[in-house]
């Protein structure tokens, strides 16, 4: 059989928000673009985002601006964020939202007819543009329809819709190809037929999203297998801060079949309260010192905030996600959990059934159909679920270029740095758009300056042999069983609360599974064969898990999405350190690297007393870099 070959200027791996935004940008720069995705077009995990997209448009409270958003993002990330990414994101997010509206997005409106904005954890003002609780669907559909509009334009101008931009749906990329130290293309197979396909392109944008399927309880769809993280590592790029995983505080816990499915933070944004089995509204007990001046310590004030935000502090249910997840975990551990090991989340007491159904329609639907619970009348049972990876490919903030690999770019969840140790809700959707656009532009500029870089026959044969391997074996390991074993290990030993001893054990056990995974055999043939597909996904998840466990073992403090039982506090010295994972062909190595220093103009945006809670006295004395 002859190999299917394509030549493009830019290949984009992943068709979620970041990938599609990158594609539009590269196409509008006059380049030819292939969009390659594992699912059908329009099914990416972005579709599951519920709450909204954070952008300081100031439509609801005009005190909001990029500086307030920047400060909130840095606080949420416990100041481990790459300041430049947080700055670019805060500055550009409003433009990215308004642009979506020009492409057909229909956000909910204010009474003045502007885009409405809702409250969310860690955001000082109402900031999230939203469409009920299906904002991600609106984003993905708008981007999908923008791609179609551009293709229609190409059909009119050139008589060929797919001349400049084509979607290759249901294709898995197994390898990013390099020649002479630079990107040359990508290799993979069509899921439908199992036949192999080569993309020659001097620039590749990785936009593959997250790693949730490495864990047992997750809000992620099956696609979240860390493909881009692993592809980047193998191509010689670095991952930064892989120890930081966000456990969303509110996933469904019952029935078992739906355990982990997301319950949007908007439930709390709209007034939902958390209580334990004793009926206590427990979050008041869990306000950390760094947030004491911004969160109400009593119910009366918390309740007043919904009516008067200028004169009251926020309810502690709206603390950043890491804080709420740890609090729920502690309550359950202390024996004050619900029958199914969660806590209660109740929105029925504060808002009417009619408004619940209007503002949280898919939550109502999800609980009614999957759990038999009517959230307009009763409380939901919720608990933490693996939701988001803050760590990811180390990139240059302005261009989204992967450090160390010319021609490689990364944007969205797969990129690291933007969110520090913990992401604020709502910052993901605008992250996708801001850095998706920047990656598309970065890749386009690179291609214009560098030109083609042909792939060698040797590289093709090597990539092809790897795809064939699982079929050549018989009686080997079962990919489904190994995946389940991996999920048990990460859940038990690399989960929401960690210890050095458990992490050491996890590293050894992950290595054992990785060894056995070299002997996976697959039943059936190549045609749409999920067992075969999983063998490749698993290989990616194993590298991600190894990187996470090793980074977590090194970080001897607790911060954001990394909690060490044996090192419970936050430590200002550790804040100056990023963990950089690289791959030597055999194993993942992790080393410490200094965190970029906040420049003076951004340093000065904060009250120095607030910075003292995070920074060492030497850092404070310096006052940021000049």
């Amino acid at each position: 059989m002859t190999l299917e070959k394509h030549k493009y200027d830019v290949v984009i791996i992943g068709a979620g928000g970041a990938g599609l935004r990158a594609a539009v940008e590269a196409r509008e720069a006059g380049l030819s673009v292939a969009i390659v995705c594992k699912s059908l077009f329009g099914k990416a995990h972005t579709v599951m985002a519920e709450g909204g997209a954070a952008a300081s448009m100031g439509n609801v409270n005009d005190n909001d601006n990029w500086m307030v958003h920047f400060r909130d993002t840095m606080r949420g990330g416990k100041f481990l964020n790459h300041y430049r990414m947080a700055e670019l994101h805060a500055k550009e997010a409003p433009d990215r939202i308004w642009e979506l509206e020009m492409w057909g997005a229909l956000f909910d409106r204010t009474s003045e007819g502007k885009i409405s904005q809702r409250n969310f954890g860690g955001h000082e003002y109402p900031r999230l543009a939203h469409v009920g609780d299906r904002t991600g669907l609106e984003l993905i559909r708008t981007m999908q329809q923008r791609i179609v509009a551009l293709q229609q334009q190409d059909a009119r101008d050139h008589g060929e819709a797919e001349k400049n931009m084509k979607v290759f749906a249901e294709v898995t990329i197994t390898e990013i190809l390099k020649e002479n130290g630079k990107i040359a293309g990508a290799y993979g197979y069509r899921r439908e037929t199992g036949s192999e396909v080569l993309f020659e392109a001097p620039a590749v944008v990785i936009a593959t999203g997250g790693v949730g399927k490495t864990f047992k309880i997750t809000s992620n769809s099956w696609e979240g297998t860390g493909d881009g993280h692993a592809l980047a590592l193998k191509a010689g790029a670095n991952l930064v801060d892989m120890e930081f995983l966000q456990f969303h505080p509110t996933g469904m816990v019952w029935p078992l079949s739906v355990k982990g499915i997301l319950v949007t933070e908007s439930v709390r944004g709209e007034g939902g309260i958390l209580t334990n089995s004793l009926g206590e509204r427990f979050m008041f007990k869990y306000i950390p010192d760094v947030f004491k001046d911004k969160y109400a310590d009593n119910e009366a004030e918390a309740d007043r905030w919904y009516e008067d935000q200028d004169n009251n502090r926020r309810p502690p249910e709206l603390l950043p996600r890491d804080e709420v997840a740890r609090a729920i975990n502690s309550e359950v551990k202390a024996g004050r959990g619900t029958e199914h090991g969660g806590v209660f989340l109740d929105v029925s007491k504060r808002i009417s059934a009619e408004i619940i159904k209007k503002r949280l329609p898919s939550m109502w639907h999800q609980f009614y159909e999957l759990a038999g619970v009517d959230i307009t009348k009763e409380a939901m049972e919720v608990g933490p679920t693996c939701h988001y990876v803050m760590g990811g490919v180390e990139v240059e903030p302005d261009t989204a270029a992967a450090v160390g690999v010319p021609g490689l770019y990364a944007a969205g969840e797969v990129a690291g740095g933007m969110h520090g140790s913990n992401r604020l809700g709502g910052n993901s959707l605008t992250d996708l758009l801001v850095f998706g656009r920047r990656a598309g532009k970065g890749a386009a500029d690179y291609v214009k300056a560098n030109g083609a870089n042909p792939v060698s026959e040797a590289a093709i044969s090597k990539a092809s042999a790897r795809i064939e391997a699982p079929f050549a074996r018989t009686g080997g390991e079962n990919a489904y069983s190994l995946h389940q074993e991996l999920q048990e290990i990460t859940h038990n030993l690399v989960g929401i609360i960690r210890t050095g001893q458990e992490l050491t054990k996890a590293i050894a056990e992950i290595a054992d599974i990785r060894k056995r995974s070299g002997n996976i055999s697959v039943s059936g043939d190549r045609k749409f064969n999920p067992g075969f597909h999983l063998a490749f996904d698993l290989d990616n998840m194993l590298l991600v898990a190894e990187s996470t466990a090793k980074s977590a073992l090194l970080r001897e403090e607790s911060r954001g999405g990394h909690t060490r039982d044996d090192f419970p506090g936050m430590n200002s010295t550790w804040r100056q350190v990023n963990h950089i994972s690289s791959f030597d062909g055999d194993k993942v190595n992790v080393k410490a690297q200094p965190l970029p220093v906040l420049p003076k103009e951004l340093f000065d945006l904060f009250d120095v007393h607030e910075l003292e809670k995070y920074m060492t006295s030497e850092e404070i004395a310096k006052g940021g870099s000049k």
Binding site: M48, M57, V131, R134, W254, L256, H365, L370, Y480, S481
Partner: protein
């Protein structure tokens, strides 16, 4: 609360295939997709099925369960009596690729044929002002998760392959309605082209599409019927269309 479940799953490809009997354990609260995954992991490693979110949000796991077009992730096993055999087959209106996976490319071709949104010339990002009440009609249709169950069940194409060429199907009638009702869309004649180019006239309002919609979009009542009525109106009175469009524009600008 485990129970033993008897299933018949269609296995095969574009050439041959048939129902295979499977016995599998099911736990309390599980949905049909959970069961399919268990069959995959323990008995049929290469059983082909599409799925993504397992939360009713992406519209990937569309199939026919006891002959009814459904999302497998939103179909509770408990809905079927203990002794009932559950039969799982691929969508019937689209060609089979393998097992429960069908070729749905028809829908992506149709999407390409619907003219995109046309914003008012000169309008800049950040300028649009729309009232909630005016966007809500289109928002209902934008809830669509593109599961294509409505396309699959519509008898205009379900049993008449020959109609596919000239019929966009319910999913794209709501897309046209969404754009037609979009407060800022400037393209005229959407309803007319729906009738003349996209086969709206072939629909005889049996509401099968509305019945299977997992998002409970009132496809027939809120999209198809209003478009059909106004197509009829405008045939007699084209000034009406122009008048309504101009008035709407003045509200906006």
């Amino acid at each position: 609360m485990a129970r033993t479940l008897k299933l018949r799953i269609w296995r095969g490809d574009d050439k041959t295939g048939g129902l295979q009997d499977v016995t599998v354990e099911a736990n309390h609260g599980e949905v049909v997709l959970d069961i399919i995954h268990r069959v995959q992991a323990t008995q049929m490693g290469d059983l082909a099925v599409r799925w993504n979110c397992k939360a009713g949000k992406c519209g990937s796991c569309s199939m026919e369960i006891n002959g009814k077009p459904r999302l497998a992730c939103m179909t509770q096993v408990a809905a079927y009596p203990e002794d009932e055999v559950i039969t799982i087959t691929p969508l019937r209106a689209f060609p089979v690729i393998k097992d429960l996976v069908t070729d749905v490319s028809f829908n992506y071709k149709k999407a390409m044929e619907i003219p995109s949104l046309e914003m008012p010339a000169g309008m800049k990002p950040g300028e649009p002002r729309m009232q909630q009440v005016d966007v809500e009609r289109s928002q209902e249709f934008r809830k669509c998760i593109e599961c294509f169950l409505c396309q699959n069940t519509c008898h205009v194409i379900r049993d008449h392959e020959e109609n596919k060429k000239s019929f966009a199907g319910p999913r794209f009638f709501i897309r046209i309605a969404e754009l037609d009702m979009h407060p800022l869309d400037m393209l005229r004649n959407r309803k007319k082209t729906a009738q003349e180019e996209h086969g709206l006239g072939l629909c005889n309002i049996t509401k099968c599409c509305t019945e299977v919609c997992p998002e409970h979009i009132k496809i027939t009542d809120n999209a198809i019927i209003p478009m059909k009525e106004r197509v009829a109106d405008e045939k007699y009175d084209p000034i009406r269309w122009l008048g309504s469009k101009i008035r709407r524009r003045e509200d906006v600008l």
